[in-house]
């Protein structure tokens, strides 16, 4: 258990509204990631963070922004939600900054977002 929680777990919103998803970790890991999972596409990286206030884009970042003002929280914001952003969103961390020499990422339970 990597101590990752996501909130909300489910959300239905209307097109054009802003939405913020939260990822919270309890173990002070430096690297955090946001993915979306869609049928036929697997897991695709949206944005990632390599420290407080340090973020960068992934492969599908259009329409999304992120913020990380504290080590433990990584927020994903859909500026103006569209139906194409209906998806399951996963947060992940890697403990590369610890004693581990491995490269695994550990995932949260996911947020199912529906944009109507």
């Amino acid at each position: 258990d990597a101590g990752i929680t996501q909130s909300p777990r489910h959300k239905v919103t209307e097109t054009g509204t802003p939405v913020t998803l939260r990822c919270h970790q309890t173990e002070n890991h430096r690297y955090m990631y946001w993915y979306r999972q869609d049928p036929g596409h697997g897991l695709r990286l949206i944005h990632y963070s390599y420290g407080v206030k340090d973020t960068d884009k992934g492969e599908v970042s259009d329409g999304y922004s992120v913020s990380r003002s504290k080590t433990e929280d990584f927020l994903l914001t859909l500026e103006s939600a569209t139906s194409s952003q209906t998806s399951v969103y996963f947060c992940a961390i890697t403990n590369r900054d610890g004693q581990s020499s491995s490269y695994e990422q550990y995932f949260g339970p996911g947020t199912r977002l529906t944009v109507t």
Partner: protein, 115 residues
């Protein structure tokens, strides 16, 4: 351009038999590979990994084989159990080049193990 490919969307096997899940990659800069398992309504969970300096890594019923020349890896599950029924994702990482430990995932293969 899909750099990690899982060409079989689904696989069905009988309980007790071997399950073989395949993954191909195109980027020669990848030199660390991982397999994840995902049950419905849960996050992916790490299963097993392999570095490019090895050609095999084993953990209990799970073995990953890497063929660098063919840019191909496979996950063997022996013996398969009904609880192994899940979506399996292959992932790859570039160890060099400052990639911030990003992973590139395949599209996944749905494994169904029939009792």
């Amino acid at each position: 351009d899909q750099q990690v490919k899982q060409n079989s969307p689904s696989l069905s096997v009988q309980e007790g038999r071997i399950s073989i899940l395949n993954c191909d990659y195109t980027n020669s800069m990848f030199d660390y590979f991982l397999w994840y398992k995902k049950y419905p309504a849960e996050g992916p969970t790490f299963l097993i990994s392999i570095s490019s300096i090895k050609d095999k890594n084993e953990d209990g019923r799970f073995t990953v084989f890497l063929n660098k020349s063919a840019k191909h890896l496979s996950l063997h599950i022996v013996p398969s159990q009904p609880g192994d029924s899940a979506v399996y994702f292959c992932a790859a990482k570039k160890l060099r080049g400052g990639s911030n430990y990003k992973l590139t995932f395949g599209k996944g293969t749905l494994l169904t193990v029939n009792p």
